[in-house]
Symmetry: C2
Subunit: 218 residues, 2 copies
């Protein structure tokens, strides 16, 4: 039986972008279904009844939810090509740690940069830059987070590049000036077709966030 792979997604979602990149890295053909988050499809509600969130990966009719879990699933099922997690248990644990850090820390601080104002925003901005510098420190002199090849942490983090002009514009900062090495890493990732072809334009994301802020009354 040929694999039937469906992705329920929403184009500006960095979490969805992760899965688009992972599937591209593995060369897996799939059906992309755009969701309207204000009017979620019956399929989304059926496939992710607990969180009711995108992205949902549906493999031969069975749903897998939560992007970090989806990436690990993709890597375990299609293990013959483009390994994403390292094979060594300690390196795997480190990769999981930094992917978790991106989710728990960077995403949250970044969200507060464009959803808050005044002192709260200043605090978020400071925290956000510190987090980026911590990630830059972990990257060090390596071309990718895991070493010589593009992997799990890169995949987890790079979609947020599409939100950089949102963070920079609302936080009044330059990520390139603050974290030049991290910015070189971004450029290196964007040279990969699996990445560049999976990501929307920064301008389009910025336009989306402008509309979203209006809708949220910010």
């Amino acid at each position: 039986m040929a694999d039937e792979v469906v992705l329920l997604d929403f184009w500006p979602s960095p979490f969805g972008m992760r899965i688009r990149i992972a599937l591209a890295e593995k060369g897996i053909h799939y059906e992309y279904k755009e969701e309207n988050l204000r009017n979620k499809s019956p399929l989304l509600l059926q496939m992710n009844p607990v969180h009711k969130k995108i992205p949902v990966l549906i493999h031969n009719g069975k749903p897998i939810c939560e992007s970090l879990i989806q990436i690990q699933y993709i890597d375990e099922v299609w293990s013959d090509k483009a390994p994403l997690l390292p094979s060594d248990p300690y390196q795997r644990a480190q990769a999981r740690f930094w992917a978790d850090y991106v989710d728990k820390k960077m995403y949250e601080a970044g969200r507060r940069v464009w959803t808050t104002k005044g002192e709260e925003q200043e605090g978020a901005k400071k925290e956000f830059i510190e987090i980026l510098k911590t990630l830059e420190g972990e990257l060090g002199e390596k071309p990718y987070f895991g070493g010589e090849s593009f992997g799990y942490v890169d995949l987890t983090f790079i979609p947020f590049y599409t939100w950089f002009s949102v963070y920079e514009s609302f936080g009044k900062m330059s990520i390139e000036a603050e974290c030049p090495k991290l910015f070189s890493w971004v450029k290196r990732c964007l040279e990969k077709e699996s990445v560049s072809k999976s990501l929307p334009d920064q301008d389009k994301v910025y336009g989306f966030v402008l509309e979203l802020r209006k809708a949220l009354g910010i």
Copy 2:
């Protein structure tokens, strides 16, 4: 070289308890080091500079942080005994999903049950019970979350049993009355020596929380 395993922990932490159970399941000898969270040891700050949190697992001098990552590490390194995650990728993804749900949803709602008052507490209590019922639904008629044997989700969830009298007392509810099947699962888990010997008494945890609430001015 014999494995040198050290656990930096704090006795009422459900996250630390997970690692105590995982190490017991695998039959690994380790040195337990109790941390004073108001005066963290230089070793803790050195081994987990990013989050500065327990538990930290130190294996032959190298730290592994974050309990869910630690359990997966333990399962991958000591793979010859008592498998914790299922071998099938889809079942693994499901196990990861429910462990993540315990962390993101149950722990958070539970914390609000004993740290808030009035309407906020009522909301937290309602949410907490709904979450427990969702977990009970996922358990279904199976003896353990993963099926016939004790595994990753059980290990992730069972430490919170030691906090049940905290939730019940401050939330004025009976978890056994709300979720009888879940309670049978608790009893089943407690029959395992790896579990019962790794968990502190509920009364002791309750006493700790009473003191903590005073210290926090709740």
